[in-house]
């Protein structure tokens, strides 16, 4: 009995080991890809940094004879805007770099301003070390690919073009070519192993020197955060009001009807049993309506499918159930706030219902993607168009929900089609 089970264990371990290796490879490949992207984007600020450094040097030298003093504000302004660009870049690829207060633009205070001085120190490092790392980060993967694939193409290259990437000797034979390929593999491992470290090294001066120092007043930042938080709370309150209203004016009224009908039936039961039974019948159907409305309300708060399968899964489910063939394309890597996802879900649900009921379309397309902290939804169909928001469609309620989240909705539907509904929502996560 022990034998087979051990063998089975061994197989499992083997499979585990293999999947572990695959995992490691996938992880380091994606880390290297991210690092290369980051180094390349660092190049985007490092090259201007070098030019700016030269400009500043020229300004400083000419200042000695007085002319430069007049030109100094322009490169300083450029320095501030470049630093802002770097903060934004670092913020997109990692934790936010909180900007200090805007530095003074007049020359004399600028020269003693700590923010400006820190930005200058960053400029020097980024224009040199950052630039070098950026160039390496872009060139190394290219060289790695070129060398690794060398045996595949060296035969077709003219002799003088087969120089090795280390600039030493030319490859003339298969052993030479294989050696170049080995060299290429070496580059690959260097990219995989050192890439992430290089990216961190390139980002470090910016993270240290461009962030607000401990001495900086963060009140501006606090004001900004307070405003966004107030807006979020406002959206929340609107949403709560909507729920409260549907409970009070819908469900509660149904249940009151039940008690009214029951009360009437009780009064009638001795006098007119048949009439009482009719009332009880109505009471029962009112109770069933109350249940249905309660279900709708709780679903409208948060559809269970969103929690189970996420936005992509929930939208695919909607598309699959749509009577009109529907193509769906969801690219929303990070999860949004639950209420935003719920709103997105209802937008698409309502739009698809309208398409199935009114448009006469043969195909529909749903696209969802996130960009710059906003979730964008687009629902299109090839139907007859002429859709009208006031025409009894559920769009009015949807519009209220979107407004509560500070989003936008636009509907274009010329007669003859096509109809496009576009909705943008702040992700709020």
């Amino acid at each position: 009995m022990a034998g087979p089970s051990e063998a089975a264990d061994a197989t499992t371990t083997g499979a585990d080991w293999r999947s572990g290796l695959t995992d490691t490879v996938v992880r380091s490949l994606s880390a290297a890809r991210a690092a290369t992207g980051e180094l390349a984007s660092g190049l985007g600020t490092a090259l201007p940094a070098l030019l700016l450094l030269l400009w500043l040097a020229v300004t400083a030298v000419t200042s000695v004879v007085g002319v430069g003093l007049l030109m100094a504000p322009a490169p300083l302004r450029t320095l501030h805007s470049l630093a802002a660009r770097e903060r934004a870049r670092l913020g997109r690829r990692g934790p936010e770099v909180v900007a200090p207060e805007p530095p003074p633009t007049r020359l004399r205070p600028a020269l003693v301003d700590p923010t400006t001085r820190r930005e200058l120190r960053w400029l020097v490092r980024h224009a040199t070390l950052g630039l070098a790392l950026g160039l390496l980060g872009v060139l190394l993967p290219l060289v790695a690919v070129r060398d690794t694939l060398f045996p595949l193409y060296w035969k077709f290259m003219p002799g003088n073009m087969t120089a090795t990437s280390v600039g030493y000797g030319n490859a003339h034979s298969w052993p030479d070519a294989l050696a170049v390929a080995m060299l290429g593999l070496g580059w690959v491992f260097i990219v995989l192993g050192l890439g992430p470290g290089m990216a961190r090294l390139q980002a470090r001066p910016g993270r240290q020197l461009l962030a607000a120092g401990p001495e900086t007043d963060l009140s501006l930042r606090i004001v900004e955060l307070t405003a966004t938080r107030a807006a979020a709370l406002d959206a929340h309150a609107t949403e709560l009001r909507r729920i409260e209203r549907s409970l009070h004016d819908g469900t509660q009224n149904r249940i009151v009807s039940v008690t009214v009908l029951l009360g009437a039936a009780r009064r009638m039961v001795a006098r007119d049993p048949a009439g009482a039974d009719a009332l009880l019948e109505r009471a029962q159907s009112a109770a069933e309506q109350a249940l249905a409305e309660l279900r709708t309300v709780s679903r409208s708060i948060l559809p269970p499918v969103l929690a189970d399968r996420g936005l992509a899964g929930a939208l695919s489910g909607l598309a699959a159930n749509c009577a009109v063939p529907c193509r769906i394309d969801v690219d929303v890597p990070a999860r949004c706030a639950a209420s935003v996802e719920a709103t997105a879900y209802f937008v698409v649900a309502e739009a698809l219902t309208n398409i199935a009921k009114h448009s006469g379309a043969e195909h529909a397309t749903v696209t969802a993607y996130s960009r710059g902290g906003r979730l964008v939804l687009c629902v299109e169909d090839d139907g007859r168009g002429g859709a009208d928001e006031d025409g009894g469609s559920g769009l009015t309620g949807i519009r209220d929900r979107i407004a509560a989240h500070d989003g936008t909705l636009s509907l274009t539907s010329p007669t003859g089609g096509p109809t496009t509904l576009k909705v943008e929502l702040p992700c709020g996560a």
């Binding site: 209203r245 009070h248 004016d249 509660q252 009224n253 149904r254 249940i255 009151v256 009807s257 039940v258 008690t259 009214v260 009908l261 029951l262 009360g263 009437a264 009780r266 009064r267 009638m268 001795a270 006098r271 007119d272 009439g275 009332l279 109505r282 009112a286 309506q289």
Partner: protein, 244 residues
């Protein structure tokens, strides 16, 4: 068999008749935006022998119906289109302005004390403010309707309870004994001495004694008129709320 059924029917009819008799022929306008509930109410009241002369789904229709049909009582829902907030209260106040002798019974999905205050601010005679679900307790509802129709008051126990909770910290109310507080609550609902005695299972004399004691402790001059008693109680509680 046939005879039997007729007999029972007649009996039941007389039975209901005693209750409806107090209300019979009362002309009513109902304003309620929920169609099912509106029809349910009309059905219930008609079955009780009341004369529902018109129903309305919004305040404008309600006011028009009141002008046209000159009912004895208007039953108004608080939340109606367009904003679903206090349209019913506004309509009630307006209807009373046009016809001060119109009895108005306001039905609300929940207790909002400011609504009660707004409604009762100009005097409480012929006014009622009840939670919607009270309608299901038909006998009590008809009783309240009758009270309002004949110039009395019907305030929901919930409203009274809320007024009490808010003014509990006041030392003058603290002076009341629990029994006196019960009596005051029933007075505020609009019940007369006999009804209070029945509810609390005491004699009318005892109720009289409690009421005199309450008026003395709250520094209110005693009077016999039901609505003035309630007015006094409510105004007093309302003053406390404003001050607190």
């Amino acid at each position: 068999m046939e005879h039997d059924r007729t007999d029972t029917g007649t009996n039941a009819g007389t039975d209901a008749g005693t209750n409806a008799g107090t209300n019979a022929g009362t002309r009513i306008v109902i304003a309620e935006d929920d169609a099912l509930l509106r029809e349910g109410l009309a059905l219930l009241l008609r079955a009780e022998g009341l004369d529902v002369v018109a129903t309305a789904g919004n305040p404008d229709e309600a006011l028009a119906a009141i002008d046209e049909h000159k009912p004895d009582v208007a039953i108004l829902d608080v939340r109606m289109p367009p904003t679903h907030t206090d349209e019913g209260i506004v309509a009630a106040v307006e209807a009373r302005r046009r016809r001060p002798d119109l009895a108005v019974l306001v039905l609300s999905a929940y207790v909002e004390q400011s609504f009660a205050t707004e409604l009762l601010g100009g005097g409480v005679g012929g006014l009622g403010y009840l939670l919607k679900e009270r309608v299901g307790r038909v006998e009590e509802f008809l009783d309240a309707l009758h009270r309002v129709a004949s110039g009395g008051t019907a305030i929901d126990p919930e409203v009274v309870a809320q007024l009490f909770t808010r003014s509990r910290q006041d030392s003058r109310l603290e002076r009341l004994s629990p029994r006196e507080r019960d009596v005051l609550a029933l007075m505020a609902e609009g019940l007369g001495n006999t009804a209070i005695a029945e509810r609390l299972v005491v004699t009318e004399g005892a109720v009289h004694k409690h009421i005199r004691s309450i008026f003395a402790k709250l520094d209110l001059a005693p009077t016999d008129r039901v609505d003035r008693r309630v007015a006094a109680v409510l105004r007093y509680l309302e003053d406390l709320r404003r001050l607190g």
